[in-house]
């Protein structure tokens, strides 16, 4: 197959997958199921290869330098498979403990510095009434999460004000995300409408959906 033919096939397949996944908006159907399983399968394959490549990229330079102690990581990694043995199932805890602890350790100091103390510092630097209001919001919001006492007396009001600020954050997040997500739909629709030969599949999809709706209607009757 020539390059052009391969490219056309890739585009056609991409358009088919796109339309089939969009068809979930109508309802769960056979085309969606097929696309879903093909997508999951190839994503698992690709993801596993990328993971393997990442691991090899870390491992190989060390082995080339003659640091054979790094083969130990392979052994520890293989302990995951101990899970299949009834007697040695607990071996999976060794690799998990290392992975988990290094992730936790990397996060904790940076998290406390930037996300806790850093934000506290930025909050108390009050310049005008807006930043003062912001500080009130942060303090009340933190009160909302105070969980070892029933909220009574002044705490009720503080946590209520805190809730308002949390609600404002939710609203803003949803409002801002509309734009980002709509851009993605625009990208997909543009692909379907203007990319050769993707647009040939649109009428096919319409016919299939129409047939499906008629089929549903007949069955109901």
């Amino acid at each position: 197959m020539s390059m052009v033919e391969v490219e056309i096939l890739v585009t056609l397949s991409a358009a088919a997958i796109t339309l089939a996944l969009f068809s979930y908006l109508w309802r769960e159907n056979l085309a969606f199921r097929i696309a879903e399983h093909a997508y999951i399968g190839s994503a698992v394959g690709y993801g596993a290869l990328i993971t393997a490549e990442g691991a090899k990229r870390v491992l190989m330079p060390k082995l080339e330098k003659g640091e054979y102690i790094w083969l130990l990581t392979v052994l520890v990694g293989l302990l995951y498979l101990g899970f299949f043995a009834r007697k040695w199932f607990f071996l999976y805890r060794y690799p998990i403990s290392i992975v988990m602890a290094s992730g936790m350790g990397v996060y904790i100091a940076r998290g406390v510095k930037t996300n806790l103390i850093g934000h506290a510092l930025n909050t108390i630097m009050i310049k005008d009434w807006q930043t003062a209001l912001l500080a009130v919001g942060v303090i009340c919001g933190l009160f909302y999460f105070y969980s070892t006492a029933e909220h009574k007396g002044p705490m009720v009001y503080m946590s209520k004000v805190g809730r308002w600020f949390l609600m404002a954050a939710f609203g803003a997040q949803m409002g801002l995300h509309v734009m980002a997500r709509t851009s993605l739909v625009i990208g997909r629709i543009r692909f379907l409408l203007f990319e050769y030969p993707a647009y040939y599949l649109i009428p096919v999809a319409f016919i299939l959906v129409a047939a499906g709706i008629v089929w549903d209607y007949m069955k109901k009757k």
């Binding site: 769960e28 879903e36 998990i96 992730g103 100091a109 303090i139 070892t148 029933e150 954050a169």
Partner: protein, 266 residues
């Protein structure tokens, strides 16, 4: 600086001095509260969260309707802060399901979660006295890729039509896909994560939500073990310290006294 430097004999990076001291201080506070709680000197009382009661309700609803229950401990790996509370609640939910004879379907994205989840669920069935009901095929790895996982979840939910869908753990952009799929099959939905970008979607589409820290609180609440309750009490005291620091610091800052700001910036 004195404290942390003299304690371990290491040079602390600039900018980390106060945060390290605060971390050490909160460790000490938590240590003390755990000790006092185990001794029985204090009894931390966690305020009730509606979502926790709703978990039992959801299992009951599934049992009544004869439908399965879906649980997802998030898409994150073992080192993520939300996964571990998510797994702790998974064990609780699995046990409840086993007791009430509800089929529980578990999904996850990160491969590293698999053995832990498998083990927890199996253990829950054994503890409930129904090891024969445990079905390993109901613990499903959907995909390592975020949106492939979401697609698989959508397909799974629309085919199995669970009576309840519990999403407690680390979630990212796919959160709304999961909850919308749950809504379309009419499942009661309880969700929770600490990702500030995704909580809005949970709040608008789910029936009960554990916001941010409440996820951790819930994972402790269901066990009612004193030492775990002690950590919650301790962290609430640390929270009060931060609140007081911010309140006093903010007032002083407006008056032109920047001592606390300088302290925090250390």
């Amino acid at each position: 600086m004195m404290l942390s430097e003299s304690l371990v004999g290491l040079e602390v990076k600039s900018g980390y001095v106060f945060s390290t001291s605060f971390f050490v201080l909160s460790l000490i506070i938590i240590g003390v509260t755990i000790y006092l709680t185990i001794k029985g000197a204090i009894r931390p009382k966690i305020r009730r969260l509606a979502a926790i009661d709703a978990i039992d309700e959801a299992v009951g609803r599934c049992a009544e309707m004869g439908k399965p229950l879906h649980y997802c401990p998030g898409i994150s790996g073992m080192s993520h802060r939300d996964t571990i509370p998510g797994l702790a609640i998974a064990g609780y939910v699995a046990r409840k399901c086993a007791e009430m004879g509800v089929r529980a379907i578990f999904t996850f994205r990160n491969a590293g979660v698999q053995p832990v989840l498998f083990d927890l669920v199996k253990d829950a069935y054994i503890a409930a006295g129904k090891p024969e009901d445990f079905n390993p095929d109901d613990i499903i790895w959907l995909s390592p890729r975020q949106f492939a996982f979401a697609t698989g979840l959508v397909g799974l939910l629309s085919r199995e039509k669970p009576g309840a869908s519990l999403l407690l753990g680390g979630f990212a952009a796919e959160s709304l896909i999961c909850t919308e799929a749950g809504f379309r099959v009419g499942a009661i939905q309880i969700a929770g994560c600490t990702n500030a970008y995704q909580i809005p979607y949970f709040v608008t589409t789910c029936d009960y939500v554990l916001i941010s820290e409440e996820l951790q609180t819930a994972s402790v609440y269901i066990t009612q073990e004193p030492e775990k309750l002690g950590t919650i009490q301790g962290i609430d005291i640390a929270r009060l310290i931060i609140i007081v620091l911010m309140g006093v610091g903010g007032i002083l800052y407006t008056l032109g006294i920047k001592n606390i700001a300088n302290l925090l910036a250390m």
